[in-house]
Structures are given as structure tokens and as C-alpha cells.
Symmetry: C2
Subunit: 205 residues, 2 copies
């Protein structure tokens, strides 16, 4: 027992992930520099590359942590299972807006980070993203019991992306985005319209 | 008349904008390099900085052209003014998806380009973005005659951002995005739900 090589490596990785998370929070993903990172983690520059394949893989680990926290936040926001689906979708959207606003740089990193051309996202990290969609399945199923599993998954992705788009353009401060002080009410109005419209969709096809 | 200094400068700027548009189309905004650009435009590297303040300002001019073309495309897609608002919103969303798919790199550049910290977007370019929102005002007004001008502008931004989010995650190939072959049908379903829901919004508040 004690300081085996594996334990030292796990400790180094944990320190590097924590330092990278802090650096991204402060400077964004484009401001993440190997030297500042390793200085903060208290290791040599070269140690970074013994702990992780490269900086991109380290960023994936930070994003995995952010997604896990976001997933917990979304699940905690869900009302009782017998609440109407509208209430569940509004609670999820509201929690998503709050998380994005409170964790701006880490949240942006989830959607801005791109692996170099030709590099595939590892399977373990692909699965980390599923939390964003999974929570939507049950309320959408309640709204649209006519849709089969595959159609529900598609509709969940679309519903997520619609809310995400409004949050993204607002937080990026884009000219066409809604001002931050109206983000919450506009997302509520969007979810409300989508939900009422989806209800009707059952009849209208 | 003839080759005045102003005319030469205008010609140089036009050649640089055309070359930058071509380079962005091929390599994306991150692949835009001053040297390749000036070689293609047939001018010296230094000439770039006599024609434009810097590379960022040149990108804004490319984006302005893309937005102008996109605006024309959206206006051309509008059905007759007496068509139902649903038809107008579906036509606009469909044209937006088609434009983004057909002009992927130039379209992504509209939303990925960021000016350096502390640099404000010039007013002339701010106005270029208005085309994305303006076309939505009339159909949304027809759907929601109860909303005042300011609320309509907000709702137009939100409607745009919702559709934009679905297109963005799909074209970026994000795990949570819808697959490209289902993008059109999912956007149609989203606009349909938003439209039906907005109709009800008149009564439900």
C-alpha cells in the first residue's frame, strides 16, 4: 500500500484536472496554457504528458466533471414524478439557464472545445453528454405518448438544442441574442409555447 | 477620374474580402492566415493592413456579405403576405437550414468570430445582423397581435435562437445534436410546436 506508482499518477491527474478547471473558469478554454496549468498543479511541464495524452484529453476530463455536475443539477431540479410534464420541462430549462449563467466559462467549454481534425471523441466522454438528453425523455413521453423511443430521443435533442440556442446567443452577448435580464422569461415563454404546441401535436400529427 | 488612390484602395479591399471569403470557405475562420490570404489576393502582406485595420475587421466584412446574402435568401423564401404566419415561419426556418448547410464554414464564421477583448463591434456591422430578426417580426405579430413592439422583438430573437440552436448542434456534429438527415424534419416539428403554442399563448397569456 501507500504511494504506489498508480496512486501517484491518479493524484497528479486529479491535481491537473482541478488546475485546468480553475484556469478555464478564469480565462476560458482558449486561455488554457500548459505552463500556467502545471505551475498551478505543482508539477513539471512534462508531467502533464505522462498524466494525459495531451491538453485536449485533459479538457475532456474537465468537461466530464462539468457534465456530471450539470446532470446532478438537472435531476435535482425535477419535480415529483406525478407533476405535469410542463412543470418538469420548465424546471429543467430554468435549472439549465441558472447553471450556464453561474458556470459560464466551464459551460461554454462544453460546446466550444473541439478535438483536432481526425481525432474521434472517446466513447467514455460521449456517454457523459447523455445526461443533457436523458432527463427530457420522461416528460416528453408524457406529452407525446404517440411517439416511439427513437422519435422521443430525436425530440429530446431538438428540445434541448432549442433552449440551448437561446441561452448560448444570450451568454455570448451576440447582437441577435436576448439580453441577460430577459433570458429567464424568454426561455419560459419558449418552453411554454413548445409544450402547448407539442400537446396539440398529438392530435394534429 | 481613373485610377485614383481611393479606387485602388477599394479594389484592394474587394480582392482581400473575396480571398478571405474563399479561405474561410475552405479552411474555416481559424484557418485564415494573413500570408495565404494576401498571396491569393495578389498583394503584399503589408497591404492587408493598409486596406483593413486588422484581420478581424476583414472577417467582419466577409460576415457582412454572408449576412446580406442570408437576408436576401430569407426574404426570397417568404410566401405571399396573406399566407398564414405558420407558413411564413416554416419557410424562413427551412431557408435558414438550407443556407447553413450549403454555406457551412461561412455560416459558422458568423457565430464563432469574436473580436479581441475590449474591442466593440462597429455599429455598421451590428446592423447587418438585424436581417436575421426583422423577417420574423411580421409573422410573429400575426400570431401574437397582443404583444407590443418590444415584446415582439424579444420573441423574434428567441424564435431565431431556438431554430439556430438546433441547426448549430447538428452542423457542429455535437453528440447531443440531431443527425443531419433529420435536421429538416426536426426543425419543422419545432417550428410547428412553437407556432401552435404561440397561438394558444394569446389566450393563455
Amino acid at each position: 500500500m501507500g504511494n504506489s506508482r498508480e496512486e501517484k499518477r491518479a493524484d497528479l491527474r486529479a491535481r491537473l484536472i482541478a488546475a485546468a478547471q480553475d484556469q478555464i473558469t478564469q480565462h476560458g478554454i482558449t486561455g488554457l496554457k500548459a505552463r500556467a496549468l502545471t505551475t498551478q498543479a505543482g508539477c513539471a511541464l512534462g508531467a502533464l504528458y505522462t498524466a494525459f495524452e495531451d491538453l485536449d484529453m485533459l479538457i475532456l476530463h474537465v468537461n466530464a466533471r462539468t457534465l456530471a455536475r450539470l446532470g446532478e443539477t438537472l435531476k435535482a431540479a425535477l419535480p415529483a414524478p406525478d407533476a405535469p410534464p410542463e412543470a418538469a420541462l420548465q424546471a429543467l430549462a430554468s435549472a439549465y439557464v441558472d447553471f450556464a449563467c453561474a458556470n459560464r466559462a466551464l459551460w461554454i467549454a462544453l460546446f466550444e472545445h473541439r478535438l483536432p481534425e481526425g481525432v474521434e471523441m472517446p466513447d467514455w466522454h460521449r456517454k457523459d453528454h447523455a445526461v443533457l438528453i436523458e432527463v427530457l425523455i420522461a416528460p416528453l413521453h408524457a406529452l407525446r405518448p404517440d411517439l416511439d423511443e427513437a422519435a422521443l430521443v430525436m425530440r429530446s435533442r431538438t428540445t434541448f438544442a432549442a433552449v440551448h440556442g437561446v441561452v448560448l446567443l444570450a451568454l455570448q452577448g451576440r447582437f441577435v441574442g436576448v439580453p441577460l435580464d430577459q433570458l429567464k422569461s424568454e426561455v419560459t415563454a419558449l418552453v411554454s409555447a413548445m409544450t402547448r404546441g407539442a400537446h396539440l401535436g398529438q392530435d394534429a400529427g
